[in-house]
Symmetry: C2
Subunit: 316 residues, 2 copies
């Protein structure tokens, strides 16, 4: 009887994939404080805004960003219509599958690949293409659909916050329209709560029907100092909790913590080379260096994936 | 007994300020159809997106846009710090209160005034300035606070839609941060559901504290073809109902109506020179010309303010 009660209590834990310890306690303590009516740290539900980075925070980002995998697949599909690509080193490396050569060309080369594969079609067409890709593409290491490469403890955290009256937003450098195709199904985050990098759009009439066409121009890169700017633009309130994993999240966490009242800033450190990946200060994708120093200096919560997470992926 | 039942029924009407007739019926019929579970026009709650213009749709916009009234007041307050303004015709007319001369200089002159009075301060400072202004400024004709110059039937419509599972958004050419200062109190629309024109923002550290500074550059004008673009960017779903009053709302209504399933497009025509104002095809503010033709041609709902609204303002 006592035993079955313990089992039942454990399975009722909304954060069952988090080991007991300081990290889990920092989450539960924060949520308890801000939701305690009449307490000194109480926050009205409308102000309970929580923002999450996506790559490396809600889903994996190795061996390279998943949206880049999409762009590379699409580049191959589009190559026959673009003979000029074969004369350009960036495109040549990408089409040959020579990823080390491509990555050596730096972030701007990757941005070029993404831009070239994301424009000239309508928003409806783009959404259909991404949906088809997500349904068929597989992660190079696990051979799983990319939408299964999400972190079970973070899914629980999202649900736990929402149960406690939080509104959860994605604030990521990923493309806004790319992420929206799966955020609702995968994270229960509706499109209007997904904030990402954007390209320019043009409103056009085609045979009397309005369409929105994706243009080549990058409009906004939602990373680093761009994140607080985008939060202001899209949400118009300062989050009381923010979750990231890389230097690109530092300003979002600073902006969050600079508000008054109870606050939670959390960084996920990828420390698990067996179940996921281990990387931080020197990784080309999701580098965590300056933000880690600031987290330690300011006492922000740092998740040690290996020791804080009982389970990493839902499929384990 | 019968009489008291009639009274009671009337006061229970969520759209009590709308006269019975075709206009009111078009609203109720639409909402009934999209919320009828199992019906042919049923729309899941997550897809029940309704977008509203603000100036001339939710509140009045005569004798000129209220945000311009704010900008003119602020211009006077800032003038001592800007001796150079006295050499510029636009600023000179504005500071002298010569509104006909100012308006004769066209929309770009007004944009110049707005830009000059909205930049160089942090978002927090700007919010505080607008709040103070709204608490003290008065409408030139009615001598009421501007936030009382809202349309009672539209307040009822917003509430009616939300009661029926809709998410209501403002999509207006007004400044996003200007509107957010009053949208939650006045319309029960939270900041994250207010979409407007934006200026560029810069993230800066001041004595170790992050701030967002409003820059002079206009980033996005949320009018005409900009509205569907902003809807895509901020919401990521196509609205099923849209409400406007001027040519600047035409593309938003076209975008809304081009989706599949039940749809509602509504234009408010200002026909009441006694209780409000009467203007349409030639008004410098809120011109309704091309959109009115298209509404008639396509059978969109056109509100005749004089005959469709039992009450215009809450204070009547």
């Amino acid at each position: 009887m006592a035993r079955s009660q313990v089992v039942s209590a454990a399975s009722d834990d909304p954060l069952a994939s988090w080991h007991e310890g300081a990290t889990k306690r920092s989450i539960v303590d924060f949520v308890t404080r801000v939701t305690k009516a009449g307490g000194p740290d109480y926050v009205a539900p409308a102000e309970r805004i929580a923002t999450f980075d996506n790559d490396g925070t809600l889903w994996a980002e190795q061996p390279f960003y998943f949206q880049l995998a999409f762009a590379l697949d699409r580049l191959k599909a589009l190559a026959p219509q673009h003979p000029e690509w074969h004369g350009q080193e960036t495109f040549k490396s990408a089409l040959a599958g020579d990823l080390p050569a491509l990555f050596a060309r730096g972030e701007s080369a990757l941005a070029e690949i993404v831009a070239a594969t994301h424009f000239g079609i309508t928003t409806d067409e783009f959404e259909a293409i991404v949906r088809t890709w997500l349904a068929t593409a597989r992660h190079p290491k696990t051979n799983r659909p990319f939408t299964e490469m999400v972190f079970q403890p973070m899914l629980e955290l999202l649900a736990y916050l929402r149960t406690n009256g939080f509104k959860t937003f994605i604030v990521s450098a990923g493309g806004i329209e790319f992420m929206r195709t799966f955020a609702e199904t995968t994270y229960s985050i509706p499109p209007e709560q997904v904030i990402g990098s954007t390209g320019k759009l043009a409103f056009e009439m085609r045979d009397g029907t309005p369409v929105l066409v994706k243009l080549l121009d990058i409009e906004f890169v939602n990373d680093s100092a761009g994140k607080p700017v985008a939060i202001q633009k899209h949400i118009g309130r300062r989050p009381i909790a923010s979750f990231g994993n890389s230097d690109g999240d530092l300003e979002m966490l600073q902006w969050t913590m600079a508000g008054t009242g109870a606050r939670l800033a959390m960084l996920i450190q990828h420390t698990d080379m067996t179940r996921e990946w281990a990387y931080d200060r020197t990784s080309p994708f999701g580098r965590l260096d300056q933000a880690l120093d600031e987290a330690h200096a300011k006492g922000w919560t740092v998740v040690d994936m290996k020791n804080d997470w009982r389970r990493v992926f839902p499929f384990e």
